[in-house]
């Protein structure tokens, strides 16, 4: 605790650093902010690899554990290359209000020295790439244990370009939603609503796992999922607080409310299970955590601690309810609940941002001139547009993929497990 220390030794080494930061300011690149965004980039990649891969892998049967990891890993690689070639340009090129265009294809016009704000554009590019990676990987939870590997890759690649990149442009790339003043700090619309809506549709087009809904086997390794969940939590600090693109007061508050929402939603889910079934489960508490994090994401830069708690509570309740709804009412085998947790959470958070972002609820304030009501309208337009676009293009992409390579592996391969039948290896040779 140097803080305490300072009281003891009055002369400190920090003075030169202060002067220095003046100079840095003049020269535009801010090294403190750059350091934080570099770190956040590592944290967000960590969410997918190995975080999300483990979270999902623990939930499936042991004969499909490697296939789920393979999905996440290969999508991450594919998206990275596509992002460099065209994705980034589609999302962050000047373009028009609908589409970023081709100006930044293969980072053309961006040199090592180009800045984006006060950090290098290369850093902004890589940071954004980690968001582009995790979003299609979230959808993996909709189709495990039965989808063809070639279809997974084709779907994910097209989805990145036709759903993710455009919506990102609308919201963060200067497109029409951002012009309208939509608030989405770290991806309630861009990441969670797109992935959630698309997951639900894909799952229903693909059809359920062989033994759905009765006859399903419990998660083969909840501990593995816990490891993944914990990594998601840690990485989410980079996701939300990194979205401030600076090591500043915004980042600080974003990290705080992110953490509080995660903790609150975890407890909510745990209590529901405890009361309903008498057994609070590890799978339950970590699912609550993801629900809380997805819900706070769009609001994380706007709300205060009170907002964090309330959003955590609402996120936990709503997503719990949605899980049951999809499984029992809709009977769609969105196997690992991508829509119920990410979709519902992301949408709820986007709407709630306009409530808890208001100063009256302890938030940092809505955009000038906006009221809670007016902002709620804008947020709703964002939600509707994002969901419709995601559904429409997911439909097209799935049809196309189905036509090219087909969607499902054979029943024999399902029985054998995708690890052996598709990837030629087995998860546990203990």
């Amino acid at each position: 605790m140097r803080r305490v220390f300072l009281h003891i030794f009055l002369v400190t080494p920090l003075i030169p650093a202060l002067l220095w930061s003046e100079i840095a300011h003049a020269a535009n690149l801010n090294d403190g902010n750059t350091a934080w965004v570099l770190t956040s980039t590592a944290l967000v990649l960590f969410m997918t690899l190995p975080g999300l891969a483990l979270f999902y892998a623990g939930l499936v049967q042991s004969k499909n554990v490697l296939s789920v990891m393979m999905h996440c890993f290969s999508i991450a690689c594919l998206v990275s290359v596509l992002w460099l070639i065209v994705g980034y340009s589609f999302a962050f090129g000047e373009g028009n209000s609908l589409f970023g265009g081709l100006a930044k294809v293969f980072l053309s016009g961006v040199s090592k020295e180009t800045l984006s704000g006060d950090i290098p554009e290369t850093v902004f590019f890589t940071f954004q790439m980690t968001f582009a990676i995790i979003t299609p990987c979230l959808i993996v939870g909709a189709f495990p244990e039965r989808m063809k590997f070639s279809a997974v890759l084709i779907f994910s690649g097209l989805w990145l370009l036709l759903v993710y990149a455009p919506v990102t442009h609308w919201v963060w790339g200067g497109g029409w939603l951002s012009e309208m003043g939509v608030m989405d700090f770290a991806g309630g619309l861009v990441v969670h609503a797109t992935a959630g809506a698309s997951a639900l549709l894909l799952a229903s087009m693909l059809g359920p796992r062989k033994d759905f809904p009765s006859g399903l086997k419990p998660p083969h390794n909840p501990g593995l999922s816990m490891i993944g969940a914990a990594m998601l939590w840690i990485g989410w600090f980079g996701f939300n607080a990194g979205s401030a693109l600076a090591a500043d007061v915004s980042a600080g508050m974003a990290m705080l409310v992110t953490h509080i929402a995660a903790a609150t939603a975890s407890l909510v889910w745990m209590m529901i299970e405890w009361i309903k079934f008498g057994k609070p489960s590890l799978i339950g508490i970590i699912t609550g955590m993801v629900a809380g994090l997805a819900t706070i994401t769009p609001a994380s830069g706007y709300v205060g601690p009170l907002g964090g708690i309330c959003i955590g509570i609402l996120g936990g309740l709503l997503c719990y309810w949605a899980v049951g709804l999809v499984k029992s009412k809709l009977s769609i085998d969105d196997s690992l609940d991508v829509f119920a947790v990410h979709g519902v959470g992301g949408i709820a958070g986007t709407l709630l941002a306009s409530v808890f972002g208001a100063t009256v609820f302890g938030g940092g304030g809505l955009p000038e001139g906006a009221t809670i009501g007016s902002q709620l309208g804008i947020q709703s337009i964002g939600v509707v547009a994002t969901v419709l676009w995601s559904l429409a293009f997911t439909f097209l992409i799935v049809k196309l993929t189905s036509a090219i390579v087909g969607l499902r592996v054979s029943n024999d391969e399902i029985t054998q497990g995708l690890d052996v039948s598709t990837h030629g290896e087995s998860g546990y040779n203990l």
């Binding site: 809904p213 399903l216 086997k217 419990p218 998660p219 299970e273 079934f277 057994k279 489960s281 799978i283 339950g284 699912t287 719990y320 899980v323 049951g324 499984k327 609940d337």
Partner: protein, 112 residues
């Protein structure tokens, strides 16, 4: 010789082994099995959905013994493994026509 094949609760393994050793049994072989019977497996609930676990973990103990020891062995297992609860398990007895100790080539009761 007889093969005594006892299906017991996992928590009773150590007690059974000790009791048999006290009785003079020189060796036994144990496998992890899953049982299905009157005792039903637990129901696990994940994210609100119920998963019925049909099978209950059990331990199978195989002991080959000389004929005269049969009754004492059965009785010992029974008394130690019994908890008066459903699922305590079964003891089955099969005839063994030959036994050999690999190391020495001894056969019959000497091999046990």
């Amino acid at each position: 010789m007889k093969l005594v094949m006892a299906i017991i609760k996992p928590s009773k393994l150590d007690a059974v082994r000790e009791a048999l050793t006290d009785l003079g049994v020189q060796g036994l072989t144990v496998s992890e099995v899953k049982g299905f019977g009157r005792q039903k497996g637990q129901t696990e609930i994940y994210r609100g959905a119920e998963y019925q676990i049909e099978f209950v973990p059990k331990i199978r103990v195989d002991i080959v013994i000389d004929d005269p020891d049969l009754d004492r062995v059965i009785e010992t297992i029974r008394s130690v493994a019994n908890t008066d609860k459903i699922g305590d398990g079964k003891i089955f007895v099969l005839e063994v026509s030959e036994a050999m100790r690999i190391r020495t080539g001894e056969t019959g009761a000497n091999a046990l």
